[in-house]
């Protein structure tokens, strides 16, 4: 319990620090977006009017007060207003989050299926001869730019094969290519870590023991290696989420889908910092929560860790003799 509380506190500290970093980067630095927008001569605003606007946006208050103000706002679910449209950021996000959530979760599921599939194919006893092909696949996948993949998929499936219409596809049809585009680069690091940990586990002495008990390769893989090999992949969950967000920005732009990614892309083009700040913080929060859940869940999945965390680990530095 003490461990859980400590871990929660740590998560909160990381979030606060992430907020601070984002705030410093986006809000506190000179050349703020307000000036860019309102000092534009075409608007013909007088200095007084600009000053009034700055007060309205809270830009004239000293930075520490702005910092506390935004922090309290964020804690209360108030993300400020978009500079471009004046709409509350919260409202903008609420409109697009469901779409992105659907895309991202489908993409994630597809990525996991793809990665597990590749790992199994790379280790299948009957496929030794072509295993190298599957082993090379993840390296190819990581090297592919997401935006290019999306474009190539559109070219192939929409223009060459004419399987999926470009204009006004149905809700399901419209999701196939974006999900695939998102899934391929996400699956690559996952497949890499799975393949590597399967290789590692296959080299452990206990696998040799099971072999010496008469187990075949399939038995060894499914009944002994699988669970051990999956464990390291869990630690990647947070990083994969980050990749999903980045992938969503690009995928939504390529396919012209409304979503958090698209909103972010537009916010950057228009220097609309409050939106970016909110997106950054939301992602950081999700990242921290994912890592927290993985950390708390890990001891349940790996019995060894439960013991180590409870401090039963051996303290002695005494070394076992290396058997010749």
């Amino acid at each position: 319990m003490k461990y859980v509380l400590g871990r929660l506190g740590q998560a909160a500290a990381v979030l606060l620090a992430a907020f601070t970093v984002a705030f410093v980067l986006l809000q506190a630095m000179p050349g703020d977006a307000l000036m860019i927008k309102f000092e534009n001569p075409e608007l013909g605003l007088s200095p007084d009017q600009i000053a009034a606007l700055r007060v309205a946006y809270g830009a004239d208050t000293p930075l520490p007060i702005q910092y506390v103000h935004s922090l309290l706002g964020f804690l209360g679910g108030d993300f400020g207003y978009s500079i471009q449209s004046g709409t509350p950021v919260k409202q903008l996000l609420a409109e697009v989050v469901p779409g992105t959530l659907l895309l991202a979760s489908l993409g994630f599921v597809a990525a996991v299926l793809l990665a597990v599939g590749i790992t199994i194919l790379a280790n299948l006893p009957g496929l030794r001869r072509i295993a190298d092909v599957f082993r090379a696949l993840p390296s190819l996948f990581v090297a592919v730019p997401v935006f290019w993949l999306g474009i190539v998929l559109i070219q192939v499936f929409s223009f060459q094969l004419r399987l999926i219409p470009v204009v006004n596809p149905g809700p399901v049809e419209g999701l196939i290519l974006p999900v695939l585009t998102l899934a391929v680069p996400i699956s690559a690091p996952l497949a890499q870590i799975l393949i590597r940990s399967v290789d590692d586990v296959l080299g452990y002495p206990f696998v040799a023991v099971v072999r010496a008990r008469g187990a075949g390769p399939w038995w060894i893989l499914s009944k002994n290696v699988a669970r051990n090999a999956v464990l390291p992949a869990f630690t990647m969950a947070g990083v994969l989420f980050g990749e999903l967000i980045g992938g969503a920005v690009v995928t939504e732009t390529v396919f012209g889908r409304a979503g958090v990614g698209r909103l972010t892309e537009q916010a950057v083009s228009q220097q609309d910092t409050p939106i970016l700040l909110a997106v950054v913080l939301l992602s950081a929060t999700v990242f921290v929560v994912i890592n927290l859940v993985v950390d708390l869940l890990y001891p349940v999945l790996d019995p060894r860790l439960g013991a180590r965390k409870r401090g039963i680990a051996r303290i002695s530095r005494e070394r076992k003799v290396v058997a010749v």
């Binding site: 206990f206 010496a212 060894r304 013991a307 530095r317 070394r319």
Partner: protein, 574 residues
């Protein structure tokens, strides 16, 4: 019917384009209930021979000649599929390192049951009952509870018992034990070997034991096969081989194995280097009173009062070392005291977790003890920092267990040995060169090693380099932390000889940390026995070994393998 017949077996590995012949014509036969030991040093092909018998050769290995018969069927050409049915059912396998040989995320009961499931043995309930029965048979107390635990909750010896339970679950006719006790503490090793003996008696299982430890093999086997470079050097009834070894190699192995040397060949090394007499006697007296703490402390005081050359080089008093959180500390070292006379060797022996390495690290100044003092030449060294610590390190040097890990892989041997001189600012470049050349010669290495890198040297050569590095700044004390444990027995014997010579010539003192009582008996003048961080016995080596006072010391000594061989050797030489 012979359980296992190996007839002129030849095995090769393919590495790159090269073909390495690892087993070159090995023959042996095991009858039911017999224990045949295959003994050899690293690279002798002993493990490969065992693997070939079960079709478990590594992917790049293959049988290139000869036959393997299990019972009456020739299995040498069998497919992997046919072998699978044999493994676990007709041949049981006990692995080398119990600590990594159980699936860490499986309960141990499931691991034992796995072999039954693989061979589709009866139903779930019957399997469960069988697992409990097996765990009980191999001597695991409270088997119902243990079956539901994970491997990390069990001790090493316990894990090895679980693995044996899995190996014998289907009552195979043949059991292969591949260095099955090498990673275990000596008292645990003895119990596991007893278990294997019981098993042979109870069910007539034949055992093929693969080991580097001639003493273990000699104690337990009916027949011995000595391998070297993939060929049989000697083969026959154990009693005959021990009493009248035919090959020169076997004779050398027998001579070099420390337990035989100390029990049968006498104390040659120890007596060679005559230690100062006076502290020896006072230490002997002290040992008699070791149980009574006050007396002991009184004597320690006195030993400090001794003047001049008789004063001990190292005096450690009441060392206590706690680790972990302040609230619930774990005590690794608990009130340990000892001293080392100039030019003598003091050994700290103990099994894993005894606190012996921690004690050594305190003496080296790597670890500040929770309480207690260490005086070197009368100077307190615990808690030294900066210049004081560096000055200490000039006087106290260290040789590690693993000669590969203790030498920087990117440096040449010359750089490695020169490093202490550079660090301590001893001599100019020319003088350093001379001194390094001398010391390299002194440890009997050719001058050409200076330009080589560690990976180009053998284990024994590397350990000589480590010794040279320790000696080059001219220390008073060298701490040897399991410094010969990772070496083959013949190499080990040469290093021990070297250490003896160096002590005689240079007058350096050794603090010898070891789990191996046989080696300790051979090298040390005085000895402290540690268990669970506590000092259980201390005194002159001969006294401790011949008349142990503490029950634990008696157990330890009784567990040293090699009695039978020593007896046979004594018989032969008589």
């Amino acid at each position: 019917m012979t359980t296992l017949t190996i007839d002129n077996l030849q095995v090769s590995y393919t590495v790159g384009r090269e073909r390495l012949d690892v087993v070159r014509g090995v023959s042996l036969e095991i009858e039911p209930g017999q224990l045949l030991a295959v003994v050899g040093e690293s690279g002798s092909g002993k493990t490969t021979t065992a693997q070939a018998a079960t079709g478990l050769l590594a992917g790049n290995g293959s049988i290139t000649g000869g036959r393997v018969l299990i019972g009456e069927s020739d299995v040498s050409g069998w497919s992997e599929k046919r072998f699978r049915d044999l493994r676990g059912r007709s041949i049981g396998w006990i692995p080398q390192d119990p600590n990594n040989s159980l699936n860490p995320v499986k309960k141990v009961g499931e691991s034992v049951a796995e072999v039954l499931r693989i061979h589709r043995w009866k139903d779930r309930a019957a399997r469960r009952a069988r697992v409990i029965e097996l765990l009980d048979y191999v001597g695991i107390p409270n088997p119902e509870l243990r079956a539901t635990q994970y491997p990390h909750e069990l001790s090493g010896g316990m894990k090895q018992r679980v693995l044996i339970a899995g190996a014998i679950a289907l009552e195979p006719a043949l059991l292969i034990a591949d260095e099955a006790t090498s990673a275990l503490d000596v008292t645990v090793q003895a119990k596991i070997l007893d278990l294997i003996d019981t098993l042979r008696r109870d069910s007539g299982t034949a055992v093929l034991m693969v080991t580097h430890d001639l003493a273990v093999a000699a104690d337990r086997s009916d027949r011995l096969v000595v391998l070297r470079d993939g060929t049989v050097q000697e083969s026959g009834d154990t009693d005959r081989v021990l009493a009248h070894p035919e090959s020169a190699y076997t004779r050398r192995l027998l001579k070099d194995a420390p337990s035989f040397a100390s029990l049968s060949l006498g104390d040659s090394l120890r007596l060679d280097s005559t230690p100062p007499a006076k502290p020896e006697i006072s230490r002997g007296e002290r040992a008699l009173h070791v149980v009574e703490r006050e007396v002991f402390e009184g004597v320690s005081h006195r030993s400090e009062d001794v003047d001049g050359s008789d004063a001990p080089v190292v005096v450690a008093r009441n060392l206590v070392q706690d680790f972990g959180r302040a609230g619930a500390p774990q005590r690794a070292v608990d009130n340990v005291s000892f001293s080392i006379a100039p030019g003598s060797t003091h050994a700290i022996v103990g099994e894993s977790g005894s606190g012996k390495t921690t004690t050594a690290r305190i003496v080296l100044g790597f670890q500040k003890p929770t309480s207690g003092t260490v005086h070197i030449h009368g100077r307190e060294i615990t808690g030294l920092r900066g210049a004081g610590l560096r000055e200490l390190r000039r006087r106290v040097q260290m040789v590690y267990q693993n000669p590969f890990g203790s030498l920087d892989p990117r440096q040449s041997i010359g750089d490695i040995v020169t490093e202490p001189l550079r660090n301590f600012g001893i001599g100019d470049a020319a003088e350093r060169r001379t001194r390094v050349a001398q010391i390299i010669d002194r440890v009997a290495l050719p001058a050409t090693v200076l330009t080589r890198r560690p990976h180009e040297l053998s284990g024994g050569q590397r350990q000589r380099v480590a010794i040279a590095r320790a000696l080059v700044p001219g220390p008073d004390v060298v701490v040897l932390d399991e410094a010969v444990s990772a070496l083959d027995v013949t190499v080990q014997a040469r290093i021990l000889e070297l250490l003896g010579e160096l002590q005689r010539d240079l007058g350096v003192s050794y603090l010898f940390i070891s789990h191996d009582l046989a080696v300790v008996r051979q090298l040390a003048h005085t000895v402290s026995v540690l268990r669970g961080g506590e000092l259980v016995e201390e005194g002159r080596t001969a006294r401790v070994f011949d008349h142990p006072e503490h029950e634990y010391t008696r157990q330890l000594i009784a567990a040293i393998p090699g009695r039978r061989a020593a007896a046979a050797g004594a018989l032969a030489s008589a």
